[in-house]
């Protein structure tokens, strides 16, 4: 059964079962909301002209940012993954990657107190196209359940499976709070802007809050499809975005299943 509180929300903006499962395994989901014409560029120009970072007050400085948060394509992801009572937390931050700035090493935010549930995550809004030379954010899918002090990541540079977020203006990338992330160097002459928002859950799920179709859970294991799977059970079982070893992969499977059961509202 789907959450009846979503009845009035356009279902095309809610995530599918497979998309939710892929967020559990890969830790990110990207949307390109069709925002009002000129909105992205006007936000980017305002950011270009700012000389101090207002921290959490960035939305007071640029109130148009609320149009991003209010777009149905953004709300649909938040409802799907955090429930209709999701919270836009007060913490948000403007990250400006200046021309000539070097890469930022891999890190997890905050301290090593990880959570296997999806109770909070980030939304990264890019008001301007991000090209390879502009210092894109780089994420490492599949690391969101790892409990690794950032100092222990200092000897990693390039990792197979890393994803540079080279995106179109207006893109919002939702990333698991605990995912390893970094930035590449900005070799261009353009400031690369990103506004980070933090979202949270206010209540545990008792049922799916996305566009759930019960039959999608009935697909049997397909040992041939493996990481090309498009259904929940096979995604949760076989996705291995970094190609980690068997011991880690088996642990990941157990954690993913607990996370999925909590989202379904069926956790013990």
């Amino acid at each position: 059964m789907n959450d009846s509180r979503n009845a009035d929300f356009p279902p095309e903006h809610l995530l599918s079962d497979a998309e939710v499962a892929r967020f559990v395994t890969h830790g990110y989901h990207v949307v390109e909301p069709p925002l009002a014409a000129g909105l992205n560029e006007s936000i980017a120009i305002k950011l270009d002209g700012m000389t101090t970072n207002p921290g959490d007050a960035i939305t007071d400085e640029i109130p148009e940012l609320s149009q991003v948060l209010d777009h149905s394509a953004v709300k649909g992801v938040l409802i799907s993954l955090l429930g209709p009572g999701y919270e836009v937390k007060g913490h948000r931050h403007w990250h400006c990657k200046e021309p000539g700035s070097t890469h930022m090493q891999w890190h997890q935010d905050s301290t090593n107190n990880r959570d296997i549930s999806i109770n909070r995550f980030l939304g990264l809004y890019y008001p301007r196209d991000v090209t390879a030379d502009m210092g894109p954010t780089v994420i490492l899918p599949g690391t969101q359940f790892r409990n690794a002090p950032t100092d222990r990541m200092a000897t990693y540079t390039n990792v197979k499976g890393q994803v540079p977020l080279m995106v179109k203006a207006g893109t919002v990338a939702f990333t698991h709070y605990d995912m390893w992330h970094a930035t590449a160097a900005n070799h261009s002459a353009v400031k690369r802007h990103m506004i980070k928002f933090l979202f949270g859950r206010t209540e545990d799920n008792t049922q799916p809050t996305w566009h759930h179709q019960p039959e999608s859970l009935e697909v049997p294991h397909d040992w041939n499809a493996r990481d090309k799977a498009e259904d929940v059970n096979n995604i949760l079982s076989f996705a291995n975005p970094l190609g980690v070893g068997q011991s880690d992969h088996y642990k990941e499977r157990g954690i993913r299943r607990q996370c999925w059961d909590q989202l379904m509202g069926t956790a013990q």
Partner: protein
């Protein structure tokens, strides 16, 4: 004086993060440190070059392991930490 230093063999370092503690397992991550003033590494936004598929291929190319990863996998089935198993290798040679 500078020329003399440059002609002296120096330590090149290669950090390889492998899928398992076996030298035959595939490489997940790579960091190469050159003993050259001002050298830095860079996280790439385009596909970097992967000179070796395994630690063994690096050995064949003359790299020597100076630190092996811990052979014992953690026993806690509920927790995951770093990605892969870290081998540190070196080559002592004159670097142009």
């Amino acid at each position: 004086m500078m020329d003399e230093i440059e002609r002296r063999p120096r330590q090149r370092l290669l950090y390889l993060h492998a899928r398992t503690p076996s030298v035959y397992s595939s490489i997940l991550g790579l960091t190469q440190i050159e003993p050259v003033a001002g050298h830095t590494v860079e996280i790439m936004s385009e596909d970097p070059e992967w000179p070796y598929k395994t630690v063994h291929e690096a050995l064949v190319d003359g790299w020597q392991i100076v630190q092996f990863p811990h052979q014992q996998a953690p026993y806690d089935d509920g927790d995951l930490d770093v990605v892969g198993y870290e081998f540190i290798l070196q080559k002592i040679e004159v670097v142009e």
